[in-house]
């Protein structure tokens, strides 16, 4: 599909960086304010989808992007599993436990391993939504030729 006009392209370049930063803010402050891993991951996926829609599929090499996002998604969920199994060896010896020290309430480095889980689940959700969208776009492009 063709891209949109030049005004849309310039505005999208400026705004998608701000949306990406907002997504990272919601993920990392997941234990202090409303949000968490799922909301932040969906927002980051929205920033990438906005870029693909504004510039058209001619300007982007879609197949390599799809390979990259599948790889990142698989790595992220593998690291979540590693963190959960690692809890079997430390502390209370329960699967998926919260084993790092819980700091003071209300600080950004607190709540044990919850911020780590938030970050990697956020990456996984973002990569999964981008992979689904890219698979649909590639299928429509291939069949048009």
């Amino acid at each position: 599909m063709k891209g949109m006009s030049i005004i849309v392209k310039k505005v999208t370049q400026l705004i998608s960086g701000i949306i990406f930063m907002y997504g990272i803010y919601i993920i990392t402050h997941g234990h202090l304010t409303p949000g968490g891993g799922f909301a932040g991951g969906a927002i980051i996926a929205g920033a990438y989808i906005l870029l693909i829609l504004a510039f058209g599929s001619d300007a982007v090499n879609l197949r390599s992007k799809e390979k990259g996002s599948s790889l990142i998604e698989s790595l992220a969920i593998f690291i979540v599993l590693l963190l959960a199994v690692f809890a079997l060896f430390m502390g209370a010896k329960i699967f998926f436990a919260n084993y790092l020290p819980k700091g003071q309430l209300g600080e950004i480095i607190s709540a044990g391993a919850i911020p780590l889980y938030n970050i990697f689940i956020g990456i996984e959700v973002a990569a999964a939504i981008i992979t689904i969208f890219l698979a649909l776009v590639i299928f429509k492009e291939e069949a048009k030729k």
Binding site: L32, G46, L105, V125, L136
Partner: protein, 175 residues
């Protein structure tokens, strides 16, 4: 509060009925977005900000995918076939819906009134949860510490859905 919510849900019902009976497929998809976005306002009124953020972003992504599917295909709805099968379907479904509504009205007389929920099961989760998990956000604490297995299951389902879409939409190279 109950009046505001009733008006909002009435709005959603009207939008849903229109989306099912629309003549053009693109109008049906856009009207189905009304139900999703009104749900965001309902979540904000019911003091659930986590859910509002997730629902608005995912509803936008779903609408974009649906419009991409509909725009490249035939956009007109099929003619209403006046044959025996359609009329039996419609009559049976209305009778079934009336029976279900009757039993539902009987069943909710056992529930507490709206707004007077007693925290029977959540007592042990809410009391002292901020000290036990270390997180100020109670929903994140419940989701990642007390109920971690469910979160792991959900991440697996999303991963499996991405794999499934990749498998269904695979183009074989012609040899």
């Amino acid at each position: 509060m109950e009046l505001t919510l009733s008006i909002l849900i009435g709005f959603m019902i009207i939008g849903a009925i229109f989306a099912i009976h629309a003549k053009d497929l693109l109008s049906a998809v856009i009207t189905a977005g009304i139900v999703g976005y009104s749900l965001v306002i309902a979540f904000l009124l019911l003091k659930a900000p986590d859910l509002a953020i997730v629902q608005i972003v995912i509803e936008t992504v779903t609408l974009v995918i649906m419009v991409a599917v509909v725009l490249d295909s035939t956009r007109d709805e099929l003619k209403f076939k006046n044959d025996y099968k359609s009329f039996t379907n419609i009559t049976l479904s209305i009778i079934f819906a009336a029976v279900l509504l009757f039993f539902f009205v009987q069943a909710i007389s056992e529930l507490n009134l709206f707004g007077e929920h007693t925290l029977r099961m959540a007592e042990s989760y809410v009391n002292g949860a901020a000290e036990k998990t270390g997180s100020v956000n109670l929903v994140t604490g419940v989701l990642f510490d007390f109920r971690g297995y469910d979160t792991l299951g959900e991440a697996t389902i999303l991963f499996a859905a991405a794999l499934g879409v990749l498998t269904i939409l695979r183009i074989q190279a012609k040899k």
